[in-house]
Amino acid sequence: MSTATTTPTSNVTKRLGAIGKARELGILLALVIVVIAATAANPNFLFSADGWRDLLLTPSILVLVAVGQAIVLITRNVDLSVGSVLGLTAYLTGRLFIDFPGIPIIVVFVIAVAFGGALGLINGALVAFAKVPAMVITLGTLYAYRGINVLWTGSDRVNASDLPKSFLALGTEQFLTIPILTIIALVVLVIAGWYMKNTRGGREFYAIGSDPAAAELYGLRVTRRLLTAFVLSGALAGLGGVLYAARYGTINSQAGSGWELDAVGAAVIGGVAIVGGVGSVWGAAIGAVLLLTINRALPILGIPDFWQRAVVGVLIIGAIVLDRVLAVRQKRKLIEARDDS
């Protein structure tokens, strides 16, 4: 029996693997094209010290947030509150440095990440225990967290001069021409990617997103997994908040507003399915880089400031359409493959 199927099996398998790769590859290709075009129009985009640095630096923070978002999306949920969480933690970071002069940077990181995780936990608890659609909950906390932020910050703002030089340096300094921020983002990405692919926990995220009811029947610890997903998303947004403070130095009550759409957009561009169960944090990360790189490439390609939003929109749509086309073609191949079995 099985010998009869080994041949079709193996090549069906190959094609299947190809789907997974093709999704990320498609986006990666788009990214490369954008970079090449921009560099052709103006070599500085890639070949000047600042060009190279900003290419890596600008998307780093969104990558972190998008990775968290991707994990939540894969469980068939969504976290719209990341922007507010990021803003709140960013301001917390500033306050810590102001109110506790000389506080070790690492401590600030820990506190901020923990705080972000806590905010995420609130989301997760409401979703998992109250069994309320994540979109509603996080839309609510999007308002609530931002409101708290504005209440707390008022019209105060943290200025670069309030932050220690060594901390601000994190936002700009490089290690072998690679910005620290980018390195942090990469480390997180690699760990998250490995976890999602190779551990029971990671696979259970996919299972839950793929069919929540079945997950219950299986006796998977759905509640715990959901909490984990939201805590991760919150914690990564928190980490993003600290880095935001380091990168931009100035934090007011509106920091990070609107990031939720960027994060979801990045993940979706990267091939993470809104309906859960499909996609990878790698895709989400590439999506984030593409999104922000496009933003920076447009003026260089001579597209006037006003039209950039429009072009970004077109590109988002283009990306997901491309992604879809690839997926559909693969699926048809898979079905036709049965003929050779």
Binding site: P8, Y206, D211, E216, G219
Partner: protein
Amino acid sequence: MTIPPGAPDRAPALELRDIRKSFGAVVALRSGTIEVHAGSIHALVGENGAGKSTLVKIIAGLYRRDAGEFRLESADVDFTSTADSKAAGIAVIYQEPTLFPDLSVTENVFMGRQPTGRFGRIDRNAMRTEVDGLFQRLGVRIDPDRPADGLSIADQQVIEIAKAISLDAKVLIMDEPTAALSGVEVDRLFQIARSLRDEGRAIIFISHRFDEVFDLCDTVTVMRDGAYISTSRIVDTSVDEIVRQMVGRDVTELFPKQETTIGGPLLEVEGLTSAGVFHDISLTVRSGEIVGLAGLVGAGRSEVARAIFGVDHYQSGTVHLNGKPVPAKSPTAAMRLGLALVPEDRRKQGLVLDSSVARNTTLAIREQLAKFGIITSGFENRAARVWASRLEVKTNALSTVAGTLSGGNQQKVVLGKWLATEPTVLIIDEPTRGIDVGTKAEVHRLLSELAGQGMGILMISSELPEVLGMADRVLVMREGRITAEIDRSDATSENVMFAATHAEEQHS
């Protein structure tokens, strides 16, 4: 209480007494009682809605009992989640397959208990070799690396079985595992079940097919209306006895297909082809005729049905109804022309589970019900009541949520929904899957009555007796092709099975 064979002296592996469970107003279980011994295959039979699946779900820890005793090897237990029951060594195959569509077949089998190496890294190779062995043992021909998405119900059921067996649990519960399977798979399943029994496992087997019950099981417990009726040794009882206990009355003539005068062709399919699923399908259904479409699982019968009805697309071929061409990819148009399809998967394709019985029954005829484009619940209830009572759906209000009906009663609602459209040709995929004897006879009587009124019926069924009993003509499919057309008169289980499996012989 009869002492079942196996180990008379030992305490029962699993024992439930007077289990009570109600969902709001609905009392699903009044006094669920069953006692299963290690090394025995114990049949649980009862009409649709008797409470079998509910009992199973309580054992699985999916529902919590309202009252009653629940013992594992004479130790009281109280499961709060399916994880508990798994831990206690209980494996369950639920009536409705539940796989993760986006994950590979292999992952589906091992989800939550994958073999892991360092840093909790999943050992994919170990998983793969194990699943290959498993599938070989079961004779499954499914690529372990393909996603579960797009598998036939039958294939899904097979995977559920593989999953449950791989748990190698002390107690294995199978809720109508064979409903979707046909001959070959069933035989394989039974071989394995027997070997498990001989290893000393306790097995509960739920089925509406008595030939299977008598072939496989050594003990049988009968339930009716959520209450325990009797337990007896298979050898001490008979089909008639059990049926009487189940329905509380005598049921006669399971397949009452009466001779009808067969008229002109209604449905004509020419060279229908969809790459990878089916090839060059040509068939005709005449008025007053029931055409049986038999075949092994995965033969592509359902795909053909779906393509004819316009749900699935196909590359080439034509479909005509009453001589009028049926446009591809438009169920709406097909319905207007008088075609109806009772789909294979009632939960995903047949019903809106969260919607009321009334809404479900009238969904397909909502346009006809509307007056001046306006439709109200009043209209719907009036129309729904007709079919509910005609098919004796087991519920007290038309506002009942369809998802809470028992499997068989759900199937009745789907039937009513499509008969309400008064089709000229009815395509019906697994008409009596998971339907109890009483209802089954009901359905068959209904079908032949409809045929008598001149309706053309294309009946896909994996149950040979049904095909042989009901069909005027039997078409057999294998791997997406029609391999034989046999007339009622000379159709036998042998020649049908041969046409269905012929290739398999050559393969091995």
